[in-house]
């Protein structure tokens, strides 16, 4: 761990999820330095029915956040596909008109449009862009004047420190919440079952394709489309059915098994000092689809933790395990590439 003076110089920004106006206010009130949100359409990667903001609600949210000294970042981080690209360009125009503090983009065309039409608009590179090498990140910086990169969750802290030394922009890293397929921005598993794309329609496992069934013996099945993704024993914690976290039968195995990933949540509380020392500028909490109660609990806990670390005090986030998926947590690839 670096000495306290170094940490104080580099106090990171806490970037928090806001799926609804109430969640935005909860995050702001709980100490978020910045909140990120999306418009209620396919232009962002959490395009769930009932979630997100209209331009009017976003404007109100910006006013509330600004009144409390909190920045607002707008995720326009799905991939614009012809002939619908105008939807994404309109989102960029809306962001510029409302004066958001930054737009989080993934698509080269959208980044190009923003850089050309709204050069004053600060751009962050979404995790969906999957930029994980200094060369890729420098390209986005030089071509589109990207000021911050959200790193994919495939890098160790040591690798992040090495990248930090070779890029001209800030680094944002996920520290808590859902952790999905490691090839962010390139996963197409949901397409095969639901016909919609995480990357182009903005939604993985849309709720209209999800079906739970409670069985007489107390177990619960979770289906996505026409496929049973998991079956939970009585008393076992259930998860949201995504293909990557499903439990499958195989002729060569006696029991169903997690073929891709297990339903666990990322929790990097114990690595926060190392991340800060590695040059991470912003710590991101995942969970725009989660409740305001969840947002309040996680943001408050991380606010205290970051402040404690910067002040050289001990911190404890063990209570957050209750809010993790399946009641289980991991440090993912941040600790080791052999995390499974």
């Amino acid at each position: 761990m670096s000495n306290q003076t170094d940490l104080l110089k580099a106090k990171p920004e806490l970037v928090c999820p806001a799926g609804t106006p109430a969640a935005l206010r909860a995050a702001v009130d709980s100490g978020a330095d910045a909140v990120y949100c999306g418009l209620a359409n396919e232009t962002n990667a959490r395009n769930f029915a009932g979630l997100n903001f209209t331009p009017d609600l976003l404007e109100q949210g910006i006013a509330y956040a600004r009144g409390h000294g909190t920045k607002v970042l707008l995720a326009v981080n799905s991939f614009a596909t012809a002939p619908r690209t105008q939807l994404w360009f309109d989102a960029i125009d809306t962001a510029a008109r409302l004066g958001v503090d930054a737009v989080i983009v993934a698509d080269i065309g959208v980044a190009s449009y923003a850089a050309e039409r709204h050069p004053q608009l600060r751009l962050h590179l979404s995790v969906q862009a999957g930029a994980s090498s200094p060369e890729a990140i420098r390209y986005y910086c030089s071509e589109f004047n990207v000021k911050r990169v959200v790193l994919p969750r495939i890098l160790t802290v040591t690798e992040i420190a090495a990248i930090h030394r070779e890029i001209p922009c800030e680094i944002e890293a996920f520290v808590f919440g859902n952790i999905g397929m490691m090839s962010e921005g390139r996963c197409s598993l949901t397409n095969y079952v639901t016909g919609t794309s995480t990357n182009m329609d903005g939604v993985c496992s849309p709720a209209n394709a999800v079906h739970y069934m409670d069985l007489p013996d107390g177990s619960k099945t979770a289906e996505l489309g026409d496929f049973e993704i998991d079956c939970f024993a009585p008393g076992e914690h259930a998860g949201y059915p995504t293909i990557c976290k499903g439990r499958y039968l195989s002729p060569v195995r006696k029991e169903p098994y997690y073929a891709f990933e297990e339903p666990v949540s990322l929790n990097l509380s114990s690595l926060l000092p190392d991340l800060i020392a590695a040059g991470v500028t912003a710590l991101k909490i995942e969970g725009r689809q989660r409740s305001r109660s969840y947002v309040q609990a996680v943001v408050s806990a991380y606010r205290r933790a970051v402040d404690d670390i910067v002040a050289g005090r001990w911190h404890d986030l063990s209570g957050l395990v209750a809010l993790t998926e399946g009641g289980k947590e991991t440090q993912g690839a941040f600790q080791t590439k052999k995390w499974r």
Binding site: A49, G50, V210, H211, S291, S293, Y294
Partner: protein, 172 residues
């Protein structure tokens, strides 16, 4: 857990048993007033329902002797009580213990965590249930407080019950 807390946790069960022999007619009147009052005070509720604004929801508080049927139609919002013996049709069904559903309506509960832990059960149209969850979650403050304020001083005892339930929530 302290013995007093155990007694308190049984409170919804006791209330359920007391309500069981009573006719539903007075309750229907109260429910109708409640849902109309809330939706008038909180018109933003409908926007979050998105494509499921015309859906119907069975709300099953497991300790109660009846099931609630919510139809959040903006022109004519309805909530009615039905005996468990009745077969009611709904697009989505949400069931759970009183204390968990109380926390959600009081703006203090993480309904996702309750669902994943198996406390709250959802069946039928998952997207409709999720939209209702977002709609309730986006209502600032507590829906229960709203209901009590609508009732005025007549509901003063209910305010005291609310405080007691909140203390219980913290202890449990």
């Amino acid at each position: 857990m302290a013995e007093e807390n155990l007694k308190d946790l049984k409170l919804p069960v006791v209330i359920g048993k007391l309500l069981a022999p009573l006719p539903l007619f007075p309750l229907q009147f109260i429910l109708s007033r409640m849902v109309k009052g809330i939706t008038q005070r909180r018109p933003e509720f409908f926007a979050r329902l998105g494509p499921h604004i015309g859906s119907s929801y069975a709300l099953d508080v497991t300790e109660l002797p009846f099931v609630l049927l919510l139809k959040p139609n903006p022109q004519k919002p309805e909530m009615t009580a039905h005996r468990r013996s009745e077969k009611i049709a709904s697009d989505a069904s949400i069931s759970g213990p009183f204390m968990d559903l109380f926390k959600v309506l009081d703006g203090r509960g993480d309904s996702d965590a309750m669902f994943f832990s198996g406390n709250i059960k959802v069946s039928g149209n998952t997207e409709a249930a999720v939209c209702l969850r977002y709609a309730l979650d986006d209502l600032e403050g507590s829906v229960i407080e709203d209901l009590l304020h609508m009732g005025g001083p007549v509901l003063m005892p209910a305010h005291l019950l609310l405080q007691r339930l909140r203390r219980l929530e913290i202890q449990t």
